[in-house]
């Protein structure tokens, strides 16, 4: 290691050397290997999902609120100064089926439904957006294909989920945030997302 450019500090260097021992004991968790080496499993989540009994969802009546709230480009007091925010509440009542249109100001279409899952095609800055109830959020890669998961693990209330347009080059980044998430139901789901232009949207399902 070349530390000649650094001011000599035996005590700190000694601590750093000892820290290396504990650092080297950090290992990737075993389950990560399976996740990485079976990426197509993730890629297939959507196709598998849509083939699962949609009947399970057929009985699920999703009520999504569709009232355009407030003023467009409303500036949130919590947003950084000057950040324009548009808040939407979008509603839908009925059984979600493929092709159903959830009409909001921007409009989006249900591309597919499956057990605990809806896939929405949103046409305002991001091409597609997948919400899986009670679980994961899957997001597409730069090709718009569902083979990139920007967030793993269960989505919790208040959690931010995101994807990178180009994961290797630090490009960003629509951001979606689940503001409220009720397990096993889509009855109350609020999310917001941010385009690269810095516009925030919020959606509320009631």
């Amino acid at each position: 290691m070349n530390n000649r450019h650094l001011r000599r500090d035996d005590a700190l260097d000694g601590l750093l050397d000892s820290a290396k021992e504990s650092y080297r004991k950090i290992h990737a968790p075993a389950h990560l290997r399976a996740k990485v080496l079976t990426p197509r499993k993730k890629r297939d989540i959507f196709s598998l999902s849509v083939m699962r009994p949609a009947a399970a969802l057929a009985s699920l009546v999703l009520v999504v609120g569709c009232v355009l709230l407030a003023l467009p480009r409303l500036t949130s007091p919590d947003a950084p100064t000057g950040t324009p925010v548009t808040t939407h509440t979008v509603s839908y009542s009925g059984t979600l089926t493929r092709g159903a249109s959830l009409t909001g100001e921007d409009g989006f279409e249900v591309m597919a439904v499956a057990e605990n899952c809806i896939l929405l095609d949103m046409d305002f800055g991001c091409d597609v957006f997948v919400v899986i109830n009670r679980g994961k959020l899957l997001l597409p890669d730069e090709d718009g294909k569902l083979h990139y998961t920007g967030q793993s693990g269960l989505i919790q209330a208040g959690q931010t989920a995101y994807w990178s347009v180009d994961p290797g080059t630090s490009q960003t980044t629509p951001v979606a945030q689940f503001m409220d998430f009720h397990e096993n139901t889509l009855a109350t789901l609020t999310l917001s997302y941010q385009t690269e232009e810095g516009v925030w949207y919020a959606f509320t399902e009631n």
């Binding site: 990485v36 990139y148 630090s170």
Partner: protein
């Protein structure tokens, strides 16, 4: 679509680099879950692009650079999240800080933590660190010097 031989290669590449990439990620991000995402995304990138490398060092440097970029993305998004008005954001589980100096590293601002992790813990040269972070070597040296000052101050105070 990756071929079987490529998948075999990925398998080998994972076994070679996963621990290192995870260590780097978890040390930069201070979150095991985020570190998993960063590593997974880096390997997804590897799989999708099937890059050809001159040698193993080139391969290692590429993977580190992509992983660090993933970490930067995650850190940036974390900052985006930071100003959002939600008090109940789930706390990100930080890795165990087994020693005071690891605590000091964890307490460093992101850009300083990155160089310390790569240079001091991964024992990468200044040149390699600069390449991984896509910054100049002088910037690496400057950040290392400043990071050491901050760590020294932290360790003195605690």
């Amino acid at each position: 679509m990756p071929t079987d031989s490529h998948m075999h290669t990925l398998d080998q590449v994972y076994d070679t680099y996963a621990d290192m990439l995870y260590r780097v990620s978890v040390s930069i991000l201070q979150s095991g879950d985020d570190a998993e995402d960063a590593v997974q995304n880096a390997f997804c990138r590897y799989l999708e692009h099937a890059p050809s490398f001159q040698d193993t060092e080139h391969e290692k440097a590429w993977l580190i650079r992509v992983t660090v970029n993933q970490c930067k993305d995650l850190l940036r998004r974390r900052k985006i999240r930071a100003w959002l008005p939600f008090e109940e954001l789930p706390e990100m589980a930080a890795p165990d800080t087994a020693s005071p100096v690891m605590e000091a590293i964890a307490a460093l601002p992101d850009k300083y933590r990155e160089v310390v992790v790569l240079h001091h813990l991964e024992e990468m040269s200044v040149r390699e660190t600069a390449a991984a972070l896509t910054i100049s070597e002088s910037a690496v040296k400057m950040r290392l010097t400043r990071a050491r000052e901050m760590m020294r101050a932290y360790l003195t105070e605690t």
